[in-house]
């Protein structure tokens, strides 16, 4: 959990230019972290690369918060 969260957090900080303290599990990419739709698509792409997995378009649409991303990755790994 901690390790996944750490790696996800790093990607979010790099990509969205937010402060690490803002990256909470309940934080919504769009509402809290200033991401637009394309940013979210891009984040999902980077998560795929980072965790060497493929996230289907259907699953990707359900990833709205940091916690969604972390639990999705854990459910696959």
């Amino acid at each position: 959990m901690a390790e996944v969260l750490e790696r996800v957090t790093k990607i979010i900080v790099d990509r969205l230019g937010v402060d690490e303290s803002q990256v909470k599990l309940e934080a919504s990419f769009k509402d809290d972290l200033g991401a637009d739709s394309l940013d979210v698509v891009e984040l999902v792409m980077e998560l795929e690369d980072e965790f060497d997995m493929e996230i289907s378009d259907d699953d990707a649409e359900k990833i709205n918060t940091v916690g969604d991303a972390v639990s999705y990755i854990q459910s696959i790994k």
């Binding site: 637009d36 394309l38 891009e42 792409m45």
Partner: protein, 247 residues
């Protein structure tokens, strides 16, 4: 205008306008993946010509209306060249018929290759171009996509669709420094226009202020410009190259 070190994929590049585009991009310095669907021998000729210019090239067979084949083609291009800077969506077919006589299959075939193919290829390259934070997508539309043309309901609808798709893609990808433009050729001397009856050609010439058909190089030169760094502030546009046929 210099495409030195850039990597390009040109669909429908074995013949006609696509062939000339592939060669022109190579003359300007790009490495080129030469897509074909039927004419393998002709695609190999283009590859040989590009290699003779000192650039890298390979031929890749792909039906652009098939998403799996498109994904494999794009992956192959990126694996070979290490990146993908330029996509030219040029592949296209005609199946002309009067609307009243047009078969559903003729409609579907043309829409699938000429419009869906552009969507699939664009979607497939976007991931790489977004990562690179730079990209050039150039869609070959047609003057008839703007003016309409009797006997070409399927082709015209597809080409008008390409122009709309160009604008939307340009808006979606602008923030990632990817530009997307369309070129709308008028009547250009290719196998596609050679098939037209003589009287149709004579009639067409009357509508062209410059009173001649265009050459594939007229389109290729503009494509190379749009693919270059010099065009970085142009996106979402349709460039008309038609001898003044439509203004």
């Amino acid at each position: 205008m210099n495409l030195e070190g850039k990597s390009a994929l040109v669909t429908g590049a074995s013949r006609g306008i696509g062939r000339e585009i592939a060669l022109e991009l190579a003359r300007q310095g790009a490495n080129v993946a030469v897509n074909f669907s039927g004419s393998e021998a002709k695609a190999n000729e283009v590859v040989d010509e590009i290699k003779a210019l000192g650039r890298e090239a390979f031929a890749v067979k792909c039906d652009v209306s098939n998403s799996e084949e498109v994904a494999a083609m794009v992956k192959g291009t990126i694996d070979t060249f290490g990146k993908l800077d330029i996509l030219v969506n040029n592949a296209g077919i005609t199946k002309d018929n009067l609307l009243m006589r047009m078969k559903e299959e003729e409609w579907d075939d043309v829409i699938n290759i000429n419009l869906k193919g552009v969507f699939l290829c664009t979607k497939a390259v976007t991931r790489q171009m977004m990562k690179q934070r730079v990209g050039r997508i150039i869609n070959i539309a047609s003057v008839v996509g703007v003016s309409g043309n009797p006997g070409q309901a399927n082709y015209v609808a597809a080409k008008a669709g390409v122009i709309g798709l160009t604008k939307t893609t340009a808006k979606e990808l602008a923030s990632r420094n990817i530009t997307v433009n369309a070129i709308a050729p008028g009547f250009i001397t290719t196998d596609m226009t050679d098939k037209l009856p003589e009287e149709v050609k004579t009639e067409m010439l009357k509508q062209i202020p410059l009173a001649r058909l265009g050459e594939p190089k007229d389109i290729a030169k503009m494509t190379a410009f749009l693919a270059s760094d010099d065009s970085s502030y142009i996106t979402g546009q349709t460039l008309h190259i038609n001898g003044g046929m439509v203004m």
